[in-house]
Symmetry: C2
Subunit: 439 residues, 2 copies
């Protein structure tokens, strides 16, 4: 393959005509595919159909400590569910509160409580002139939406394959008391699929923030979501490291079974130090009488323990892997050596991150949409929805079938090529004009 930048103007123009024709063809195919969100595919959900059978009219509805899950009580979760969610995160059950169906709601509540009531006796954020959050980016749009909703200023921190730029994180949090938190998806990050290195996690545990109420928001959404049995990432356990480092209260960790059992009908949990949990319980007492313990019991009876989860996730991986491979195969075949895009090849998670030439992402997403393939909006992976380079695109292969993913990716690469040719031609044009001007 010849890199686009090495082509002459004539060659590029001919290529452009050819790509435009192919694009018009593609539009005619009437595609209607969605690779915008990390939605499980139906075949993944079918794998847990029999979860609907574990609780029935003759079931013992009591927890292991003899509590009737059909009634009020046990506000912070049933003990066996705390243990199960703890196993997913690699922490003891006593460090866990099990909540409702969505970890995003727990994160929202944590931020909201900090805004209205403050963290551990510190000034409520609503009474501060400035509150800032560090946002490793590209990152998860729903995280950024929460901080934006509460008027929290977001500071972009570059991501590397080892995690956020820790030099920058350390420097910023030490210097600025208005920085109150950082969003992290530490394993199979959204959207790159990177897993923070042990060194990164250790540096997180050793952070010395100026703000006493600084917290790491550790969204361990893909803790058990490996795609390949022989290529599994390992994430260091941060709660223990924080405790060892003398910073036990530094981190809130979140996880859910939304991408293990049912999306939106699973159970979600927060893990933290005992002091943090104590504070959370105090305001939970006002906020709710308790979460759905029947569903907590259903999950534990079904999966039993981390081994049950791991077995199940192998089956899920078998469903999801071909979809990732379909995307990667087309990207590799169609874009390798062209110098017009790079992409990640993650060992797990729900996404592939694609970086186009600067200034091309929006055009690519728009062209895909016009031809029937919906991608996550360009810019969504950055704070305020603004990608400074207009380059990053998140690909979510989980929902369509592998065949559909192939078709969708074929359209995608076509749009990448077209946008890239246009961009290079434009640049050449500008250079020519500049030469004329300076001549």
């Amino acid at each position: 393959m010849k890199a686009y930048q090495e082509m002459g103007k004539q060659e590029l123009t001919a290529l452009k005509t050819q790509l435009e024709a192919a694009y018009e063809d593609a539009k005619g195919k009437g595609l209607k595919l969605d690779m915008s969100r990390g939605k499980p595919g139906a075949s993944q959900l079918d794998l847990v159909s029999d979860m609907m059978d574990v609780l029935h009219s003759d079931s013992d509805m009591k927890t292991e400590n003899g509590f009737d899950v059909r009634n009020y009580g046990l506000m912070d979760g049933i003990p066996e569910a705390k243990r199960l969610m703890g196993e997913i995160m690699g922490v003891p059950g006593e460090n866990v509160i099990v909540c409702g169906n969505a970890s995003l709601s727990i994160m929202y509540d944590m931020i909201c409580r900090s805004v209205t009531h403050g963290v551990m006796g510190n000034t409520p954020w609503c009474r501060l002139d400035q509150v800032k959050f560090l946002c490793p980016a590209p990152g998860y749009d729903r995280h950024f939406a929460i901080t934006q909703h509460f008027g929290i200023e977001m500071i972009t921190v570059p991501m590397t394959p080892q995690g956020p730029d820790m030099d920058m994180v350390e420097r910023l949090v030490a210097a600025d008391e208005s920085i109150k938190g950082i969003w992290c998806v530490p394993k199979y990050s959204n959207p790159q699929g990177y897993t923070y290195s042990r060194e990164t996690v250790e540096r997180f545990a050793l952070l010395a923030p100026a703000a006493k109420d600084f917290r790491i928001y550790w969204d361990n959404a893909y803790a058990v979501h490996s795609l390949y049995e022989d290529r599994e990432d390992v994430l260091a356990e941060i709660l223990g490291l924080c405790e060892q480092a003398g910073n036990p209260d530094l981190v809130y960790e979140f996880c859910s079974t939304s991408k293990i059992s049912f999306a939106g009908a699973g159970i979600a949990a927060i893990a933290a130090s005992k002091a943090n949990l104590e504070e959370i319980r105090k305001s939970m007492t006002i906020q709710t009488i308790g979460y759905d313990k029947v569903n907590q019991l259903r999950h534990v009876r079904y999966f039993k323990d981390i081994n049950g989860i791991r077995e199940h996730m192998k089956q899920q991986a078998a469903q999801v892997r071909p979809k990732f491979e379909a995307v990667l195969k087309v990207l590799e075949r169609e874009l390798s050596g062209l110098g017009i895009g790079t992409w990640t090849n993650p060992n797990g998670g729900y996404f592939i991150s694609f970086d186009a030439l600067e200034g091309c992402a929006k055009k690519i997403v728009a062209r895909c949409k016009e031809a029937g393939v919906v991608l996550t909006g360009a810019g969504a992976t950055f704070p305020y929805g603004k990608d400074p380079l207009d380059s990053n695109i998140r690909i979510a292969p989980s929902f369509p079938t592998p065949e559909e993913m192939t078709m969708a990716t074929e359209l995608f690469v076509l749009c990448v090529k077209l946008a890239s040719v246009e961009k290079i031609l434009e640049e050449r044009n500008c250079e020519r004009l500049l030469c004329k001007c300076s001549a």
Copy 2:
């Protein structure tokens, strides 16, 4: 029966000695009963055991509009659940958002959002010097806990058998822009079991509050919780009345199935005008990806419609009624004519409200506790947990068996008698001293 006030000192002193002996006896019985919270009894929960069977591995998991409830989407609830919850409240499904398992959490969220973001473009309450809520009292302690949590000043409004003192409500909301809401349990009120009269509801719909962001928090928790088929209260439907009155946005209505299906594992909903719902959806988009639609579908498949709910509630009433009757029978037998207490005899709901002589409630609750019967804390039914007369006690008969309720109430009346005798003797003593002084 001779009223205590008509007894002479000697008679009262003898009675006191006798009651004290009986109380010591009672303490020896080792009772351990809880009538503190509106918790369903196990026999009520058993009535819905087969709800666990309606969804199984072979079930069609699609909504009536073809949506897979096992996946993300339909953030504001599945259409059939909106319709069902709407039927409970007497409003169209399009005026309903179905959320998670607890209506209390929805109320918390509504207040919290008003604090952080304001209501329909009005100033967020966190930026106002003063925010006040009207609290008809005796009322529900968990309501008052939410407003207190957010530093909202609570103004007590007296309750009558027809609802809150509407003259006072009308006057206050018209005069004071800092009054932003009122807590209501309009049917089978907590703790009295009163149902607001049609006139009261109409006056609510016609309110002319000074604050544009004033809202009625209409917690219709006991909409279908009648105890007697021949004595059912009827509550006027407020959303329609508000619309007719030209005040469509004045009310938020809440309900849940916590006391229909499983306590804490049911579904909850909010009903409001389209404009209110639109605003709620906007911030829900930030707060969550969606609620548990599997449980929503389970509820609709089980109950089908309001007729299914009504049939089921008749069975529940058959379980709960004997418990209320056990309490009322003992109260009637032991306290009638003594002039030391009054109580309500509700047609539905979860509570009986008891008013002791002034200054006696705390003592009665403490004595009951000492002898093994836990009641709702005295004062809990008032804002800030402070009953100005120290007189009101909430009795929650639902959790123990009828036999246990008889035993518990027998202890209760004993404690009422003892506290009353002590109080009357003290008063006489004071009067005597006063006479001496003035002589």
